[in-house]
Symmetry: C2
Subunit: 556 residues, 2 copies
Amino acid sequence: MSHPLFEQHRKTLDAARNAIRERTYWSAYPEIPSGRIYGESAKDDGLTAFQGRLNKPFNIEGQPGEVGRVGEESSPFGPALGVTYPKADLDTLLRASQSAQTSWRDAGVEARVGICLEILHRLNKRTFELANAVMHTTGQGFMMAFQAGGPHAQDRGLEAVAYAYDEMTRTPEKATWKKQVGKEEFITLEKRYRIMPRGVALEIGCSTFPTWNGYPGIFASLATGNSVVVKPHPGAILPLAITVEIARDVLKAAGMDPNVITLLADSLAAPVTKDVAIRPEVKVIDYTGGSEFGTWLEKNATQAVVFTEKAGVNAIVLDSCDDLKAMTGNLAFSLCLYSGQMCTTPQNIFIPKDGIDVGGERKSFDDVAGAIVKAVDWFLSEPRRAAEVLGAIQNDRTVMRIGESAKEGADVLRESAKMQNEAFPDARVHSPLIMKTDAGRKELFMREMFGPISYIIATDNTGQSIRLAAEGAKSCGAITAGVYSNDDAVLDRAVDALGEAGAAVSCNLTGQIFVNQAAAFSDFHVSGANPAGNATLCDSAFVSNRFRIVQSRVSV
Amino acid sequence: MSHPLFEQHRKTLDAARNAIRERTYWSAYPEIPSGRIYGESAKDDGLTAFQGRLNKPFNIEGQPGEVGRVGEESSPFGPALGVTYPKADLDTLLRASQSAQTSWRDAGVEARVGICLEILHRLNKRTFELANAVMHTTGQGFMMAFQAGGPHAQDRGLEAVAYAYDEMTRTPEKATWKKQVGKEEFITLEKRYRIMPRGVALEIGCSTFPTWNGYPGIFASLATGNSVVVKPHPGAILPLAITVEIARDVLKAAGMDPNVITLLADSLAAPVTKDVAIRPEVKVIDYTGGSEFGTWLEKNATQAVVFTEKAGVNAIVLDSCDDLKAMTGNLAFSLCLYSGQMCTTPQNIFIPKDGIDVGGERKSFDDVAGAIVKAVDWFLSEPRRAAEVLGAIQNDRTVMRIGESAKEGADVLRESAKMQNEAFPDARVHSPLIMKTDAGRKELFMREMFGPISYIIATDNTGQSIRLAAEGAKSCGAITAGVYSNDDAVLDRAVDALGEAGAAVSCNLTGQIFVNQAAAFSDFHVSGANPAGNATLCDSAFVSNRFRIVQSRVSV
């Protein structure tokens, strides 16, 4: 049974399904914030729409169980947003979610997938508005908020839909089973296989990438027939509230119960996540955030299938290179981008204490460390570029962490300083802190220090660098790792050791590609093979257990 | 990188991969215990081989950490087996398992899959020996032990390998990612995607279907690169010990470390399952058995991906039929087969108190209940047939349960009696107990009564029958359900309600096909959608989370 929205977006789906098999470059949604693509007025319209949200109640039309208001977001670039969201009675909300789930399930694969694709299409059209919402909750610079919060997040959502469609259609809806049991005797059964979603899915959002990290779980759950309760981080509600609003509009227009997706907002003072996460109605949980709470979910929300992306300690191993400037320039961008608040940002940079070979010449440890600092300094020397790349610090705890970590005994090579953002004088901007220590000081670097904090660590040799990087990944988790070497044997050894430790390894990156970037349809984000998380965005395992197959058979 | 064993068995694999997509009838291993298929001497050779195992130590050559002997199996058909198995030091065994896992992982997909297919091939050749081992541990009649313990179990193992192969090859090993970033400017990354198994997988066997329920998990874990520790039920070690022996022989002949699969035997008095299940090295667990321990695993072994098949309350809904004898004959066989010790055996038979329509004629509740009892009586009237179909009761607790349940207040329609088995005078044979009660006595029938115990329950009407059957599935779990009706609307309602409750529904089965049977490559055994288990034999979700994909990328 097809559906008009499925037919309308079928080409996009087919291309996405092909992309996840080929894993070459592909994207459905343009990443360039150009008027020619998004419409000449799109930029202004998006800003106006965003500003129109501020200092007002945000209503989720038709969502039941409102028992008050919550909302305490303030922009890392300055002012409080002043937006309030419905505070929901949990029992009422879950009842509505369960009730909507039945008809959503029965709508069938193509209706659900078609509606998901239409939601993504509409989200894409609203990218400028979403970009402003992402920017002023997460602290990302505008360009990053546009790309990562808009098209890249939409691509990740589409990728999840493509995986879900593949998995749901892997088994036919019907089959005739005919077994010969005698010379001319047969048993024939007509069998039917039904996709049975697990129930209510809970999306627990994060404060840094609410859409990019949220869309895969939301769309994987929706496509497979679960209803979704979106519980954003209290510091980054708006991007997901707009997402829920758009999704509900599409559902309603398609004749579905909009409570298939609902918003459950809370505050830091009165969090509801633990309560909802262990409710028996909740059968699927997607979580992005700190390790402690993620591990709590894995251990306690045993009534649900739990997908986590937690935190880790990402490492860079410097062994040798041809061009120090190209290497340190690339690294400096990775360290500066969004002030190190990406779960993929490197924290520990391992360099042999005797230095490295650079194009045949020996560079001392201090030379290389100095070159990294210099590259960061150069990056931040132009205020506009600095402002755009650094963005702002999402919350005060991160700012405090910068100050505290500088006093713990590592040598400070580059002090963090409060910086100005011309456009937003109240922005919470602090430049990266870079410290130097040695391999013996594990108490300093074998732990996650979230934010613009990095350690350059002197090791005995590259072998030790690789071992420590892998040890960090195994014990603390790691999502990414970077290696620079001119020696293929070193690269192989690093790729083996770090891969075994579950980190995605990037080798010899220079130019406009960075260790912290992961591209939908090609890169698997988080391996699920170390403490940094138990799941990947996206693979089959990310979708295949969100539903079950229940069969029936009739004797004929 | 291909492998000779992969090439040798490629056709079987391809046919299996096709079968899981088509889901029509297919089988790789012949279910007929014929000399023409298995060799004229196979039957005698198998018996001799089995007898040669008795009253002896069973050695697992080369398995480290032996610190004593365990073994207390006794045949439900009579004598103690007298076989002892190595008692293993857990630390040593797990270390050996971990150590073997690295090279197993690095052997690659085709080597692992080829070796798995060769193991299955060799298991098939040894079916007569395995059948005797299954018979004299589980209590299954010989024919059932041969079919379910041999080819059907091997088919289930092959099915798991086919799913695993599909999932592992869904992502290419390599891809070139080329993104245009300027008019003539490109970024190119060579990417590599590696299958990274989770680690040590634990197979926890059951006492009734050690091979049929064990092979899917064992082969899914092996194919995806995990090493497997097999922990059989203390009452049914031999079939899995022979399996481990054969698998180790194949591994060794293929140049692999045989500790890729090891045996961890224990006793009822000193069980080791809880200890091993929460060890950090154990990353995957497959379990078949009672609900209480299964739920304990789901809640406590949170370091592992846990797949459970637990127990439930299977129901039959009788609404109407054309031929009472055909219906009751089919039902009677389902109740007698292996003395109701299948996880798919019906327990609760719901009949409207005003009776049912049979070919246009009204048959009273008592008439229908009486016809079921009569059909069972007829079945057991011929001693040879009775012995073969009933088999023997696996353990004394089940015998005790029969006696106790008859005294709890339901009307006994058919008493259970101790029966003789001519060939095995000491066999533990007890005929089915059939009781009658009404819909109000939920305390009697809304619980699992494992063994040859069933309730015929008078309801207000078929609507109530369906509701109660679904309620039982939702609250106690259910794997199967059967419905008999001439009314398509009733069938649809029952299929919907029971399917929603996660039970696989069979409609109007008569003749040589039974509600308790599930065919590999076509039937999904256990839905995972109610308390009877969280997983299915087999689907993508059963294999896709046994490994992770870890990527690397190199700038070119």
